[in-house]
Amino acid sequence: MFPSGKTILLTAASASLALTQGATAEEFGRGERRGNPYVAGDMHNHNTCTDGSVAAGYTIDRAVGRGSASAGGNNFDLDWFTLGNHGGSGNRDCRFSDTSANLPGQTTTTWSQTLGQTIDGVTISSLKGTPNGSGTGAQMWRWQSIREVEYPTIVNRSAQYDKVLIEGLEWIAPGHEHVDVAVITGQRPMHRRKPGNADKMAEFEYRFDRADTDAIGPTIDAGGNQLWPGKDNVNNTGTAGHQKALSGVKWLQANYPLQSYVIPTHTERQGPFSATANKGYNIEHFRDFNNAGPTVAFGIESPGHFAEGGANGGSGSYGTGAVGGGTYGMSGIYTAKVGGLWDGLLGEGRNFFIYVSSDWHSRGAGGARDSFTTADFIPGEYTKLYVPNAGRFSSQHVVDGMRSGNSYSVNADLIGPDMVFRAKTRGDDWKTMGETLVVRPGEKITVEMQLTVPRENNAPYSFNNPLLVPVGIKQPLNKPSLDHVDLITGQITGVVAPDAPNYAVANAAGTAGASIVYNPSATIARQIPATQMHREHRGDRDGVRLTFTTTFTAGTKPFYIRARGTNIPNGTPNVSDTAGNPLLDANNAQVSCTDPACPTHLETVNGAKKVTHDVQAYSNAWFYANPIFVRPEGSPKLLVETNAELARRLGQRADNDHDHDHHDHDDHDDHHHDHH
């Protein structure tokens, strides 16, 4: 299936970078994961340390456990998991779930009730830093809960599940909304004797999260001297906030260039950026991030909150004031629009990729064990972010895989963990997502895609997809079905300089934001119906393997090819246009859910249940694959190439440092990996 393109030396950071070339599938994985070229994870989710509904450990249990949870509810068996909870502070003890989760024996518990007690092997003796609230409102700063509660939970669960668990953050960025961040340096949760710590992650949160206004942080002596002095606690808003956010990106790039990522999330939700508030992003802010952090700021994330859609929209937690006025095929307009903001960044040749995660908080009207949700899905239930399986998989491989661009994002298990998306000209020198194919003008470029449509997803509904009923298709919601794949191409015209007039582009809230074109050359170059793909049935358990190849002719200009697929045919009323582009998802609620099995929690209009909440999410399913870049021989290297080379050089330097310091590795391995 995969050509064996390279010999891979698993020695350190640079080795995992090479994995983007693809080794044989047979070399990967262990147990049931053996043979899967990609592994599924989630990097954005919440617990009661901030605004989630369940305990930190409970989220992990449901996300990576197998079978059923002990108190009921399905587990979702993810291969890796990053705990990506807000910055700031929280008053609840996150060793307990909230009462609203309806879990046996669990009631909302605050830090004020548990100080000094040893619970789950962890004793919190005091709330540290600047006093923040009193009584049941007494809050723990997140730098403390990252260090003293969440990371010990990660260590505990790592041993229990033998999976890759990472302590991350949903950074409440100065000047903007939210950003997924992880700093894996120091985290060795699988190491029995020295499991390390999440201090670097906590330090980032303390220094740069605008909701963390603590002015003290951890102290190093009885005199109160600070461990992390010099915090900017002033410039948290608007343009000054953006500059502080950039300082955060630069801090990561300078200190943890291969051990961190910074990925803005639900980027359209709060509308355009404001120079005087904290909201949104325009294209210039993503350009700033990528310029400041070429190996750490390499993409954006889809919205999450996929079951929030109601009769007036709201899917992805996007209201009418979001850029675009809502989601489109469960993605924000920046990524859903052909020629939109993402295509604008790719049109510069930037290493800028997209990712998906759950943004799990709660199930809305349901408790944590209910099969339905009117708000969020549990990690692994609906969304899966796939990164390359590196065999002896580690947290470093998660970061490397994301950075490489060799990843894809799937909703509703539309496709499985073994997608192949690659291109070549001659011989067997395939290039995959995130890589660049160098061609001679006039050459034939062969593009191949292989994907498996699983037999089942996690939907609790077996009635037919109500969005497809009007076009005469009977497709049970719990049986994934692919209608077609789009191959989207766009020209690459070079990096836009910060002083160029088109570096900043005017943005707009609402549906006006959906009309902004950032890359007019982007187009759906090929649409391949699933009915025209080679089809191989893989038995009742594994679904259907689909394969197609198509060709392009190399021109004299660089370009990229990205892919998306969906269960929605072109021109489906209230769902897609005649070219196959997703419409504003609020339109889905124009369709009634008329099957007798349509659940009671759907929104109603004049007594008719509408396609909303989790039924909408399972009805309107998409996947997105990151781009393959193509440039003519002799043309300047693209930014995606030079930034990959930068990462490679940094990895080699880390290797050399590692070799040099090998004698005291255990004490100085902040910049290396989990070896387990």
Partner: protein, 108 residues
């Protein structure tokens, strides 16, 4: 009734949140803004019959609004309160005759 019992203790628990955090910038919502929005939405919800499905949904939104406040995210608090108000005004969720929303209780 069970559907509403599950939110009551959390409301009480979170209502007393104090704050020593730095004052947000002028355009940013404050705790007072959040509390006012929650109070307004709660009054709207209370006008619905106790067994109306939209009242249940609204109270779940209000619970989350207070959770957001507990995290210092007052903009999200106000957003959740607005959802609660919209839920009540538009009666977005209604049970059809003979229907019941089944939510697993903590004791089940």
């Amino acid at each position: 009734m069970y559907l509403f019992r599950i939110t009551i203790c959390a409301f009480g628990l979170l209502a007393v949140l104090g704050s020593a955090m730095a004052a947000p910038a002028s355009e940013e919502p404050t705790r007072e803004d959040c509390n006012a929005a929650v109070a307004e939405a709660r009054a709207l919800a209370a006008a619905l019959p106790p067994d109306h499905l939209s009242r249940y949904f609204a109270e779940r939104h209000l619970h989350q609004a207070l959770v957001e406040a507990g995290n210092g995210e007052f903009d999200e608090c106000i957003d959740m309160a607005a959802r609660a108000s919209d839920e009540v005004r538009e009666r977005r969720h209604e049970l059809l005759p003979g229907e019941k929303l089944k939510v697993l209780g903590a004791h089940e």
